[in-house]
């Protein structure tokens, strides 16, 4: 069997937080292996370090302990080549048109003018924004702006796409449709997807495997295999197994979420 694309061994993260600053154990230790082409989702109670885990894999945050490898090479302080990230917040550049937004990262590759335009055109078509190439983000809806950010990531042809609650700010119907689109893009690009979400149904519907994180310090306390076919879409919710998987996730997560709420209530601090 080929080596995993992403390997975390004993990864931990401790922040200095509060006043006076005291070490806060936010994450880990986490051991995880993600195969190439896999769709891996992570769920966990709020404040459990999900986003920190993503930033660690993206090379945005250095680890306090352990080791992160992407395609066999350790990830240091810099974002490695071949990884794309889509954030929850709107990260579109308001001063650029949709096409300019999407082509933004390509400048670094010094492509020819026509090749750059062609790649942008292809990706815009892929995310269904062909008619909005000359529009500005302010003219688009929240879901469309998020698609701009997804397109901007896809155009770099990443081998691993990290998504940090990308549909968190969208309404439920849009979320489901965006989920379908994400599945389609995942199949078409053959990239590995690492999705962080707080929505159990979203994780259940989209992922091959779902990691459940504990309350802070975030550790993986369960990994659920869904066993869905690769050609799935949001109608997988009708599958008889769907409810059972979501229920298993919730059973694990409920206690952890209660811990978080209990802790915040006890200390009176916001998450």
């Amino acid at each position: 069997m080929a080596a995993p694309q992403v390997r975390l061994s004993g990864v931990g993260k401790t922040f200095m937080a509060g006043r006076p600053p005291a070490p806060l154990h936010a994450l880990g230790p986490i051991d995880l292996e993600i195969e190439r082409g896999e769709f891996f989702a992570v769920v966990g109670p709020s404040g459990c370090g999900k986003s920190t885990l993503l930033e660690v894999i993206a090379g945005l945050t250095p680890v306090s302990g352990g080791r992160v490898e992407f395609e066999g090479r350790p990830i240091a302080a810099e974002a490695p080549d071949g990884i794309g990230v889509v954030f929850q917040e709107d990260a579109s550049f308001a001063w650029l048109s949709v096409a300019e937004n999407v082509g933004f990262g390509l400048r670094r590759l010094h492509l020819g003018r026509s090749e750059l335009a062609e790649r942008v055109r292809r990706v815009l078509q892929l995310v269904g924004l062909s008619d909005f190439a000359t529009a500005y983000p302010a003219q688009l809806s929240g879901g469309m702006r998020q698609r701009v950010c997804i397109a901007r990531t896809l155009v770099m042809e990443p081998r691993l796409i990290l998504l940090d609650e990308p549909f968190g700010a969208l309404d439920q119907q849009t979320r489901l449709l965006m989920g379908d689109e994400l599945l389609r893009l995942w199949r078409q690009t053959d990239a590995t997807v690492f999705l962080i979400t707080h929505a159990l149904d979203e994780a259940t519907m989209l992922a091959d495997r779902i990691g459940v994180m504990s309350a802070r310090p975030g550790r993986l306390i369960d990994v659920v295999q869904t066993g869905w076919p690769r050609g799935r879409d949001s109608r997988i919710m009708e599958h008889p197994e769907f409810g059972a998987i979501a229920a298993r996730l919730w059973k694990t997560l409920r206690e952890e979420s209660l811990k978080t709420i209990g802790r915040d209530a006890a200390t009176g601090s916001a998450p």
Binding site: A79, V85, F87, A94, W95, A138, M156
Partner: protein, 250 residues
């Protein structure tokens, strides 16, 4: 034109009418101020004769130089200060109290050092404008969403690209505010210096006319400065509007 626009015009026209009436009635005497229609006539004569052209050109060139310096130095300094937290914290009180410093007090010193040429006047305009530029650019840079900076790191942009392609464009609405202030300050600095001591320029001509009771020159030149600043301000406001509209901030 919008309703507010009409109101503005009405206020200006009404003020002019009142001045005209007071002048014609002899309540405002001619040594104090000419009637507005005479100012308009003299303004036309001065512009057509072209005898102020070199003064106008000198003032505009020096203002432009002061403005260019304030913009360039201000933006670069703001980008660097934004990265140097400790230095910025050290300088913050200075920025906050800067406009309490009478910058014109440095003018005699500059004349002693650089001579009675254009440079001291440009420096005064620059000194007045640059801090407005720094403060507003910093303000804009502070408000750049963190997610855009994370995106820059994922795309592995070098620091200069991050500034030129992400943080400065993102901060542009605040930078425009700085530019508007810097334009006003550059004009004030240059014309004010000319007024104090100079060998030419609009400020010098106004001051010269003032000491000679030459109202036929002084008032038209004041009108000229007013018109120029209104035109520049209108152009900058249009630019600002276009910028904000594109971002859905209007």
């Amino acid at each position: 034109m919008s309703r507010v626009g009409w109101y503005r015009c009405a206020i200006v026209l009404a003020s002019l009418a009142v001045l005209e009436a007071l002048s014609l009635a002899g309540i405002i005497d001619r040594i104090t101020m000419q009637a507005p229609h005479l100012i308009a006539r003299d303004f036309y004569r001065i512009v057509v004769s072209g005898r102020m052209n070199s003064a106008i050109l000198k003032t505009l060139a020096n203002t432009l130089a002061a403005l260019g310096l304030a913009l360039g130095v201000g933006i670069v300094a703001a980008v660097l200060l934004h990265r140097a937290r400790a230095l910025r914290d050290t300088l913050d009180p200075l920025f906050a109290t800067y406009y309490a410093v009478p910058v014109f007090a440095f003018y005699p010193f500059f004349i002693v050092v650089f001579g009675l040429g254009d440079l001291p006047q440009i420096l005064i305009g620059f000194m007045l404008g640059v801090v407005a530029m720094i403060v507003n650019t910093l303000n804009g840079l502070d408000r750049v969403p963190g997610v855009l900076l994370k995106t820059a790191r994922i795309l592995r942009l070098p620091p200069a690209d991050v500034a030129l392609r992400i943080t400065l464009p993102a901060a542009a609405p605040h930078i425009v505010t700085g530019v508007k202030l810097a334009v006003a300050y550059a004009f004030i600095g240059v014309i004010g210096s000319e007024f104090i001591l100079s060998r030419g320029g609009i400020g010098y001509e106004i001051s010269f006319a003032y000491t000679n009771f030459d109202n036929a020159v002084m008032y038209p030149l004041i009108v000229l400065i007013l018109l120029a600043s209104i035109a520049i301000n209108a152009a900058l406001s249009r630019w600002e509007r276009a910028l904000l509209e594109r971002r859905g901030m209007l």
